[in-house]
C-alpha cells in the first residue's frame, strides 16, 4: 500500500531497477524545505561506497521540486530520489509520534524493496554531512553489522535526557554501552528490519510501529551485531519548560514499557560491554559561560513541597528524606548524588510497571526531579572540559550499574523490599 502512493514515474523507475540495496529515509518535519542541502552529501556518501549499490532515497519534500535539483532525476545512476508524502503525518501529532510513524513507513518501504540496508536521517539536514551518511551505511554493507547507532558531537549540556536517564539505564539493564540508543538517526540491516515489519495477512499499514529506543533494545535482545559511529554535530531543538513534562512523558513512557517487556532478558545481564565504534570523535567548541539554574532548583523545591504525596507512592522513605534535605540546601551547594538519582529512576521504572498511579501523572511528576538533577549536573560541569564531562557521565553510568541489584530486588519483590 505504501508503494502505491509513490508518483507514477518514480514507481515505473522502481520497477525498472527491480528493488534497491540501500534505502535512505530522510524524515523529520523540518526536512522538507532543506532537502536540497542533503543531495550533495548523500551523493558523495554513496560515491564512497563500493560500486553497484542501488540506492533509493525517500524524502518528504515535493517530488518535482527535488527532481529539478538533481543531476540525474530519473535515477539512471546509483540513486533514485522519491518524494513520499506519507513521511509527514496528515494530522497534527507530537514530534515523537511523527518520527515513529515515519520510521514505520520507511521500514515498510525498505522491506517492500528488499533492501539490504536502511538508513534513517531524522536530524536537521544542515548538520548532515557525507561522512554522517557513509558511517551509518558502511558497517552494515561492508562489515555485516545489523545496527549502527550514532555518536553525536555535542557539548556538555546537550542531549541531557539521554545522558541522565536513557543511555545509563539501557547500559545497566541491557549490558551495552550505546551513547545514543534512541538515535534518532541510525542504520539497520535487512535482518534486523524483519523484526519491525509485520508479514502475513495484516496489511503493511498496520505493521508494528516500534519507538526509536526499541530498535536498540530489540537488537540487543535478539543478539544482533551492534556498533556505533561518530557522525558529527547534531542540532538539538530547544524545549521550553511548558513542554518538558510532555517530552519526558513521550520519551520515558515507551522506554519503561520496553523495560517491562524485556524483563526476562535484562534480569540475567550482569555488567556492561563496550560495542565497536567507528570514526573519531569531533571536538566541539565549548563556549557556554555561566549557567543560570535557579529556575530549575525552584522547580525542584516546588515539587518537593507540593508533590510529596505522589512521590511518597513511588519512592521509599529513605529517598524521600534525602530529597527533603536537598530541597533545603543552598543553591550553590545543590548536588544530587549519582546513587540517589539512579535509585530514583529505578523506582519510577518500577512504579510505571506496577501502575501505582496513572502513568501520565507518574511521568509528569518526575519532571521536577529531572530538573533537579540537571541543575546539579550543570553546577558541577559549568567550567569542566570535555574529558572531565565524559568521566562524569561514566561515573553516572557506573552508579546505575551498581544500583541494578537494588532495582532487581524491588522488581522481583515490590512489596517486601522497600528500604
Amino acid at each position: 500500500m505504501e508503494l502505491e502512493v509513490i508518483p507514477q514515474e518514480a514507481r515505473q523507475r522502481l520497477d525498472q531497477i527491480g528493488g534497491a540495496d540501500l534505502v535512505i529515509g530522510i524524515i523529520g518535519a523540518e526536512s522538507a524545505p532543506k532537502i536540497g542541502s542533503a543531495i550533495e552529501p548523500v551523493n558523495r556518501a554513496l560515491a564512497s561506497l563500493s560500486a553497484g549499490v542501488k540506492t533509493v532515497v525517500f524524502h518528504n519534500a515535493s517530488h518535482d521540486e527535488v527532481s529539478a535539483q538533481l543531476h540525474d532525476p530519473e535515477g539512471n545512476g546509483s540513486s533514485l530520489w522519491i518524494g513520499y508524502p506519507g513521511l509527514t503525518p496528515n494530522q497534527p501529532v507530537s514530534p515523537a509520534q511523527s518520527i515513529v510513524e515515519a520510521y514505520r513507513t520507511v521500514f515498510t518501504l525498505s522491506d517492500g524493496l528488499k533492501a539490504r540496508a536502511c538508513v534513517l536521517i531524522a536530524s536537521d539536514l544542515e548538520t548532515v554531512t557525507a561522512q554522517w551518511i557513509s558511517r551509518l551505511v558502511q558497517p552494515i554493507l561492508e562489515r555485516k553489522f545489523d545496527l549502527v547507532a550514532p555518536c553525536y558531537a555535542r557539548n556538555k549540556f546537550e542531549g541531557l535526557i539521554n545522558s541522565a536517564i536513557i543511555s545509563p539505564l539501557i547500559r545497566s539493564l541491557y549490558g551495552r554501552r550505546i551513547q545514543n540508543p534512541m538515535g534518532p538517526d541510525c542504520g539497520i540491516s535487512a535482518a534486523l528490519l524483519q523484526r519491525f515489519v509485520d508479514h502475513g495477512s495484516s496489511p503493511p499499514s498496520s505493521g508494528r510501529a516500534r519507538p526509536p529506543m526499541s530498535i536498540a533494545t530489540d537488537a540487543i535482545c535478539g543478539s544482533f551485531q551492534i556498533c556505533q559511529a561518530y557522525v558529527g554535530r547534531r542540532f538539538y531543538s530547544s524545549t521550553d519548560s511548558m513542554n518538558l513534562s510532555s517530552v519526558i512523558t513521550e520519551v520515558l513512557g515507551p522506554l519503561f514499557l520496553d523495560i517491562e517487556r524485556n524483563a526476562a532478558f535484562w534480569q540475567r545481564v550482569r555488567g556492561s560491554q563496550p560495542i565497536p565504534t567507528f570514526g573519531d570523535p569531533l571536538p566541539v567548541a565549548e563556549e557556554i559561560g555561566t549557567v543560570d539554574v535557579r529556575r530549575m532548583i525552584e522547580s525542584f523545591q516546588l515539587g518537593s513541597e507540593n508533590l510529596q504525596e505522589i512521590w511518597g507512592l513511588v519512592l521509599p522513605p529513605a529517598t524521600l528524606f534525602e530529597l527533603k534535605k536537598l530541597a533545603r540546601v543552598a543553591p550553590d551547594r545543590f548536588r544530587i548524588p549519582d546513587e540517589l538519582w539512579a535509585r530514583i529512576v529505578y523506582d519510577f521504572t518500577l512504579a510505571h510497571r506496577l501502575r501505582i498511579i496513572n502513568r501520565d501523572h507518574l511521568l509528569r511528576a518526575m519532571t521536577p526531579l529531572y530538573l533537579g538533577w540537571t541543575a546539579s549536573y550543570a553546577l558541577e560541569m559549568e567550567t569542566a572540559v570535555p574529558a572531565v564531562v565524559e568521566q562524569r557521565l561514566e561515573r553516572l553510568c557506573l552508579a546505575y550499574e551498581a544500583g541494578k541489584t537494588y532495582f532487581l530486588s524491588r522488581w522481583r519483590w515490590p512489596d517486601r523490599f522497600n528500604p
Partner: protein, 234 residues
C-alpha cells in the same frame, strides 16, 4: 354509681391487658428477628473484612487517591471497616423490617414497597458520589502536577479548589437524586459553588496579586528558548 365506675374501669383494664397480650408474640418475633439478623450480619461482616484485608483494599484505595492517609475519625480511617459495618447494619435493618411484619403485615408491606421504590435513587446517589470522588481526585492530581511543572507557587491552592468544586457539584447531584432539600439544596449549591470560585479568584487575584503579577511578568518577559539556554534536553 361507684359500681358503674369500677365496672367501666375493669372493662378498660381488661381491653388494655388483652391488647398488650396480643402484642407480645409480635414483640418476641421482632426480638428473635433482630437477634438472628445480628448473628448473620456479624458472620457476613467478618467474612467481608477478612476478604478485603487479604486483597489490601485499604492500600489500593489510598493509592488511587480515594481515601486520604490521615482522617481523624477512627471509623473512617479504614474503608474495610466501613464496608463491613455497612453490611452488618444493613442486614440488621432487614431483620428489623421482617420483625415489623409480625405486628401488621400490610403496614410492613407498604413500608417495604416505598423503601424499595426509593432504593434506586440511593444506589444512583452512591454511584454519583463514588464517580465524582474519583474524578475529583484525578483532576486535583492533574492540576497539581501541571501547576508545579509550570512553576506556579499556588499549585496546591488550585488543586484543592478544583477538587472541592467537583466534590460540591457531586454532592449536589447526589442530594438531587435523593430528593433531599429541593430548592434549598439548589440554592445552597449555587451560593457555595459561586463562593468557591469567587474565593479562588480573590485569593489568586488579590491575595497574591503581587506574587502572581511578578510571576507572570517573569514568564512573559522570557522567550521559551531563553528559559532553557544553554540546555538541550532532547
Amino acid at each position: 354509681m361507684w359500681d358503674q365506675v369500677s365496672q367501666v374501669l375493669n372493662r378498660a383494664t381488661v381491653r388494655v391487658v388483652s391488647e398488650v397480650v396480643n402484642l407480645l408474640p409480635g414483640i418476641v418475633a421482632l426480638i428473635m428477628a433482630l437477634v438472628i439478623s445480628a448473628i448473620v450480619g456479624g458472620i457476613l461482616a467478618f467474612t467481608l473484612r477478612r476478604s478485603l484485608r487479604s486483597i489490601d483494599f485499604d492500600e489500593r484505595l489510598r493509592r488511587w487517591g480515594w481515601f486520604p492517609g490521615t482522617v481523624d475519625t477512627r471509623m473512617f480511617r479504614s474503608p474495610t471497616l466501613v464496608a463491613s459495618r455497612v453490611v452488618f447494619w444493613g442486614i440488621v435493618l432487614i431483620g428489623f423490617l421482617i420483625g415489623i411484619a409480625a405486628f401488621d403485615a400490610a403496614l410492613t408491606s407498604q413500608f417495604v414497597s416505598s423503601l424499595l421504590a426509593y432504593l434506586p435513587n440511593v444506589i444512583a446517589a452512591v454511584l454519583v458520589l463514588l464517580v465524582g470522588n474519583l474524578i475529583a481526585q484525578f483532576l486535583a492530581r492533574s492540576v497539581l502536577i501541571g501547576a508545579v511543572n509550570m512553576n506556579l507557587q499556588y499549585a496546591r491552592l488550585l488543586s484543592q479548589g478544583v477538587k472541592w468544586l467537583v466534590l460540591v457539584l457531586t454532592v449536589a447531584m447526589a442530594l438531587e437524586h435523593l430528593s433531599i432539600g429541593g430548592d434549598i439544596v439548589r440554592m445552597a449549591f449555587g451560593i457555595l459553588f459561586g463562593g468557591i470560585v469567587l474565593a479562588l479568584a480573590l485569593a489568586v487575584g488579590l491575595g497574591s496579586k503581587e506574587l502572581v503579577s511578578r510571576s507572570l511578568e517573569k514568564e512573559s518577559s522570557r522567550t521559551p528558548t531563553e528559559v532553557e539556554e544553554p540546555f538541550r534536553h532532547l
